[in-house]
Amino acid sequence: MDLKTKHLLDIASLSKEEIEDFLNLAENLKEILYRPIPKVPTLRGKLIINLFYEPSTRTRFSFEKAAKTLSADSLTFTGKGTSIEKGETLLDTIKNLEAIGADLFIIRHPVAGAPHFVAKYSKVPIVNAGDGTHEHPTQALLDLLTVKEKLGTLSDLKVAIIGDIKHSRVAHSDILAFQKMGSTVWVSGPAHLLPDIKEENYFKLSEKSFKICYKIEDAIKDADIIIALRIQRERHGEALIPSFLEYHEFFGLKPKHLELMKEKTILMHPGPINWGVELAYEMEKYPFQVILDQVENGVAIRMAILLRFLTGEKGYEDFS
C-alpha cells in the first residue's frame, strides 16, 4: 500500500494525488452498480464495522451498500442496543470490536477528532464518516466525483458554498478539497456562521483560492457549482438565526438567483434538505441540480475507499 496514511481521517491530510487515486478507482468501480447482479467477491471475508454515534441515512446506507457490493461483511452499530448505553467508552468499544475481528472501522461521531483519537490506538484502518463540526471527507470525495463526472474537470472552477459554514463538516472538507484540485471556493451566509477572521487563514490554501463574502449574490455570480448547506439545528444548541423565514429570504437559493448563475451551474446539497429554508422547493425542478447523483456517487466512492484500505489496490481487477 503506498497510501501515506493508514486511515482516512480528513481531507486536510490528503494530497491531490491521493484524492485523484480515490476518484479514479471510484469511476472504475461504479460500473459494477449497473450490472444485473451488482456484486463482486473482492472483499469476501472482510469485516467492516460501522460505528454510528449520530444519526445518518445517506452515509450509513451507502457505506453498507458499498460493503455488500464488494461482498464484505458489514455490521452496523448505533447507540441503541449496545454497551454505549451502559457507558462504555469509545476506546473500549473499539478494542472489543477489534477483538471480535473488525478489519476496518467507519466512524461517525458528534465530537470533532473522535476518529483521530481512535486512530491513535487502532490496529486497523479508520474511516471518518463525519466528526462533529470538523470534517466529512467521504462527502467531499463524492462531491468531487460528481463534479468531475458532470463537468469533466476539477480545476479552474468557481465553487460557491452557501449557509452555515462554521458548523458544517461538509463545508470544511469541500473547501479544502476543491482548492486542492485547483478550483476557487467562495463561501457566504450569515456572518457569524462564517469562519472568523483568525480562522480564515487555515481555509485559504492560496491567496486567491478562497473568499468569504457577505452577500450570497457575490458568491453565486458566475459560479460553476453552488453547494447549499443545511441549517444544522442540532449543532447550535442556541438560536443562531432569527427565523427560518428570514434565513430563506436572505440566504436561501431561489429561482430569482437563476439569472446570476451560469447557464449550466450545477446545484448540489449534501442532504438532508430543509426545503423552503436553504433551498426553495422550486429548485428541485432546476435541470442542473445533481443531488441524487451525489448520493449515487457516494456508493462508488465508498467502494473505492473500502477497496483501497482493505486491499491496498489503486486499480480494480474484475473477478466476475
Binding site: 476506546l91 470533532a112 483521530h116 483519537f117 491513535k120 462533529g132 463540526t133 483568525k198 480562522e199 487555515y202
Partner: protein, 426 residues
Amino acid sequence: MKILVRKGRIIDPSQNLDFLGDLLIENGKILGIEKNIEIHERVEIIEANNLWVLPGLVDIHVHLREPGEEWKEDIETGTKSALYGGVLRLACMPNTKPPNDSPEVTKYILERASQKAYVTVYPIACITKNQEGKEITEFGRLKKAGAIAVSDDGKWVQDSGVMKRAMLYAKNFDLPIISHCEDIGLSRGGQINEGCFSAKLGLKGIPTSAETIAVLRDLILAKETQKSVHLAHLSTKEVIPFLKWAKEENIPFTAETCPHYFTLTEREVENYNTLAKVNPPLRTEEDVLAIKLALKEGLIEVIASDHAPHSPLEKEIEFEHASFGMIGLQTLLPLSLNLIREGYLTPLALFEKLIVNPSKVLGIDPPSFKKGNSAEVIIVDPEEEYVLTEEIIQSKSKNTPFLNKKLKGRVKKVILKEKIFDLSLI
C-alpha cells in the same frame, strides 16, 4: 542541631541578595548568611558547590483535588510533587467536591494537610456558594477557619453586581480576591484558542475577548471599590494594554501567568492532544512573546503553576470530552528558568515573581533568609538536564505535555525546618 550550606549562590529576593556564600541553620531556623561562615562546633555540612540556594517557592494556584477527586490527586501526593518542584508553600483552589465554600471544608483541608502534607497548604475558599456566582460565601467564618483568599477559580463571577459586592465585603476581612477571567458567553463550548487550529481541528474556539473583557471588568471594579483584584493565569497579549492602563491609573491589582503561557503555543493541540487542553487555552507565538515582555516590564508580577491533575479517565478520551488542565508543580521552576536564559529576567527578578510577589498577594511574609525565619531552603542545579519521566513526577496524575520531554533545571535538595530531603535520587 546546626546545618551549614556551603559555597552556594545565595539568592534571596526578599532582601535583594545574590552572592556566593554560606547559609547557616539552627534548629530549623535561619541563623545567618555570610560570604564565609567559619564554624568550629559539630555541624552537618551540605556542599552546595555553586548550585543555587533559594528560599522555597510559593505557588498560589494549585489544584489538590482533595476532597472529592482523590483518584486524580490528594493532599499527600500533590504536596510531594510540590516539594520535588521546590514549592514549599502553596495555595489550593476551592473547586473540590464539595467545593470549599464552607468553614467545614476549609477545616477539613487544613486537618488533612496537618497529617499528610509535605509543604505548607493555604486553602482558598469560594467567592460564591457552590461557585454558582449568585450568593457570596461567609468570608468572615471562612477566614477564621483558615481560608487565605477567595476565588471561584474555574469560573468567573459573571454577575458584575455580585463581584462588586464580594470585592467590597472582602475588605472587611482583608481577604485577597482572585479572579478567573473568562466571560462564559464568549467561551461556552470552546475547546482551544480561536484561530487557525480551531478551524483545522473543527473545534469551537475560545476567543481572546473572553479573557480581555473579563480582565477589564475586574479592573474597573477594582478602581471603583479600591479593592485589589488578583488576575489569575493570563494568557493573551490582548490584556496587556489594559494592565498598562490600570498601572497608570493606580488601580489596585496584581496579575499572574503560568509557565505554559510563556512556553507553549496552540500548536501543541495538533492531532487532538488532550494533554495540551487547558483553560485559558494555549495561544499563539505573539501571545507567548507578549506575556514574556509583560513579565519583564513588571506588568505581570506572579508566576504560578495552575497545577491541574487529571487521570487518563479524563484525558485519554475524545478531545471535546476531555477535562481542561495540566500538572505543573514540577515544571514551574525549570520552565521559569528559561526566562533567565532568554534574558527576560535576572535571577532576582524571576524569584521575586516566584517567592515574594505571590506571598504579597496572599498577605503573608515570604520565605526568606532573614535571621530567625524558619528554614525553607531549596538547592537548585539550574543546568541539570533530564527527561521528565512518569517516575520523576510525584503527582498521582501525569497529564503534562512535557511528559518524556527534556527539561533543564532541577531541585536537588530541600531543607524544610529540621528535615533534609535529598531529591536527586530518582
